[in-house]
């Protein structure tokens, strides 16, 4: 099943995000070996060089490390994984507030609505 990718953003960035997401959601666990570039590229239905670039970037960020002969692995550094998770959450929150601004709600109004929603009240 080809990965679902947006049309307007660089492909390698989206591949990085997808793999990060797979790490957070537990598809890959800390220390797991990840599939070869070729297999991942086939699975995603993307160019292998693009997949290679995504993995190199993940390696540069430290999230993935490679062992010369045996392939690439997910980091076992729990602090780093937690940091990535937090950063992603913050990104989602920023995006959400941005959308609410576009709908004309201030931060305070948004917060109030969120609390009401959590309490199960109707608007």
């Amino acid at each position: 099943m080809p990965w679902d990718l947006d049309n307007d953003r660089p492909i390698y960035l989206q591949l990085m995000e997808r793999i990060q997401h797979d790490i957070i959601s537990g598809v890959y666990k800390p220390g797991d070996k990840i599939p070869s570039v070729r297999d991942l590229a086939l699975d995603a239905a993307v160019n292998p060089n693009t997949m290679q670039k995504a993995l190199s970037e993940l390696e540069r960020s430290g999230l993935v490390y490679s062992q010369r002969t045996s392939g690439r692995f997910i980091t076992e550094d729990e602090t780093m994984l937690k940091k990535m998770k937090t950063e992603l959450a913050q990104q989602h929150i920023r995006d959400f507030f941005e959308q609410m601004h576009q709908l004309g709600f201030s931060d305070d109004e948004t917060l109030e609505m969120m609390q009401k929603t959590l309490k199960g009240e109707k608007q």
Binding site: N7, I11, A44, A45, N47, N49, T50
Partner: protein, 232 residues
């Protein structure tokens, strides 16, 4: 490393009309390149020049450093934009034909692909549908272990499911040192498998960039950019 394909001020005239004008282009090894342009922009002319079916009016074209000829045909696997096999042959005869012709033809690869596409080896070509014939031709071309694959409109006539399989076939069968040049109008379908694209417009190269460079610089897909650049 020297480029697998190099064009230097390549010009081709048909009568007084320029099909290609002063094309400078170098493609390195190990990439999948989309050759994109509207009808009549010179894509097929360029492809025919690569394969020695036409000769340049001016300038040079080099495949792995050599002018197109017997030696370059050994390393170039070419899918023309029309069917070229005898209607009276059976699939298995065509396979034998390719085995005889090309040292780099892999019977194992062709068998695997024919099975996956459920193409009957005993069928006569005249009994195959247009789409199945296209699939067969692509199988023949991709079963070779070539340095340069030149595919002229490889996915135009097949259904979307077969299209996915064909793209997968291309991804599975090409090795890291080979280059694939694909001309197509179905940009959105193949965009994700391309390294870079070359836009041809009225016989000239107007853009030569990687897919991700285009997305970064323009904030849009190659397909969208094409539709804007070549808006009628």
């Amino acid at each position: 490393m020297r480029p697998i394909l190099e064009c230097q001020s390549l010009t081709k005239k048909y009568g007084s009309d320029y099909a290609l004008f002063g094309v400078d282009l170098a493609l390195g090894r190990g990439q999948i390149v989309g050759l994109l342009g509207p009808n009549g922009s010179g894509k097929t002319t360029l492809i025919k020049l690569i394969n020695g079916l036409l000769t340049p009016t001016e300038g040079r074209i080099l495949v792995d450093g050599q002018a197109p000829g017997v030696e370059t045909k050994k390393i170039v696997s070419y899918l023309p934009d029309r069917d070229y096999l005898s209607r009276h042959m059976r699939v298995k005869d065509v396979l034998a034909y390719y085995m005889d012709f090309y040292k780099d033809f892999s019977a194992e690869n062709s068998s695997r692909m024919l099975d996956a596409l459920e193409i009957d080896r005993k069928a006569r070509l005249s009994s195959l549908s247009k789409g199945t014939k296209e699939k067969l031709q692509l199988v023949l071309v991709m079963s070779r272990n070539a340095d340069l694959y030149v595919l002229d409109e490889p996915i135009g006539g097949v259904d979307p499911a077969a299209r996915d399989y064909i793209l997968q076939t291309i991804l599975t069968n090409y090795n890291e040192n080979a280059t694939i040049l694909i001309s197509t109008h179905l940009i959105a379908d193949i965009e994700n498998v391309l390294d870079r694209v070359v836009f041809l417009s009225a016989g000239q190269v107007t853009l030569n960039a990687s897919v991700d460079e285009i997305r970064t610089d323009y904030g849009k897909s190659v397909d969208t950019l094409f539709r804007e650049v070549f808006k009628c």
